[in-house]
Symmetry: C2
Subunit: 212 residues, 2 copies
Amino acid sequence: MKTLIVVAHPKIDDSSSQAFFKAGAKLVEDATWHPLVEPFDVLEERALLMEADRIILQFPLYWYQAPSSLPKWLNEVWSVDFASHLQGKQLAVVLTLGRQLQDYQPGAAVGVTLSDLLSPYVALANTCNMTWVPPLIVAQFARMTEAQRQSLLIRYQQFLSLPDTHFQTISQWWVDQLSKRPEATQIAETLKERQAHLASLRQSVKEAQGDE
Amino acid sequence: MKTLIVVAHPKIDDSSSQAFFKAGAKLVEDATWHPLVEPFDVLEERALLMEADRIILQFPLYWYQAPSSLPKWLNEVWSVDFASHLQGKQLAVVLTLGRQLQDYQPGAAVGVTLSDLLSPYVALANTCNMTWVPPLIVAQFARMTEAQRQSLLIRYQQFLSLPDTHFQTISQWWVDQLSKRPEATQIAETLKERQAHLASLRQSVKEAQGDE
């Protein structure tokens, strides 16, 4: 699966979270890190979009909206005619928040939900006949512990590379990752055996249900 | 009440709806028509905002978001520190749509609601301690009949000048408008008499309730 990461951030070089994601994306085959830089070369931008299977829009919220480069890019690059070439592709968002998650609720400080705020992108997916992938939300990156960041790195890499979030897909991802490291092949083997065991248990359950 | 109309539209001179609104705003005392033109003079923009009692953000939707000049303006002009000067003011949106209203429903073409799409502005009002005024939504201006446009012109002028939408406020607006025209003073007089009659009926009802 080819993934295009369209990053909209006016001060991307000063952003520790974007530097973190950039390093994470580098480790993923078939993921292209693409920060928006004006002016846009419309044909080049469109070529990148056409190549991708999953298009990720990645941005922080400024006053509850994406930075202006994103609507500008959408308006210039993503014309209604061109959008027909994108149907069937996946659309996803990686959102970074300075505020804590619980502020985005009715009655809380912001008072609206993240689903509300992401609705323009859901509508974009709907009208372009793209598949909307549930977003990856990262709140208060600056306050994360080292362990939380390690966990986020894994979630981000999976978000870039996995077609879905089924248990078997994630489990297979771990086998692939661990097999690449000589010191972890034993763990990968054990995991593989357990996958096989689980698959055979599933088969038995299925047969038992069939007998009923 | 002083009203500032912040218009975000990349091709404002080609827009028949914005030309229509501009003409309407001219007839309203204390309403300032202010199209966004980059680059922004931050101090001038802030002075305009400080003077206003009601701040109206007026824009079309491009891919379900405001044109990029609006988030850019918010980001440059409307800093978190400055926002404290805006508390207590009213915030409103005038939204123009190319699509028909019924497209903005779950299951319809766009699949999300206009409340969803306007949520960034509700959140802005919430966190700046401003009063959110229900928006004026104008769908498919180009297809409106002359009668519909006349009705819209009135609704727009009321939206710019009335502090609320109570029946009495709107009724008084009509008296004021008609009194300005020599040919309509008789109608204004009749309306005034009926207002007085209604007020006395209200008083009677109140007293009757007090007797219970």
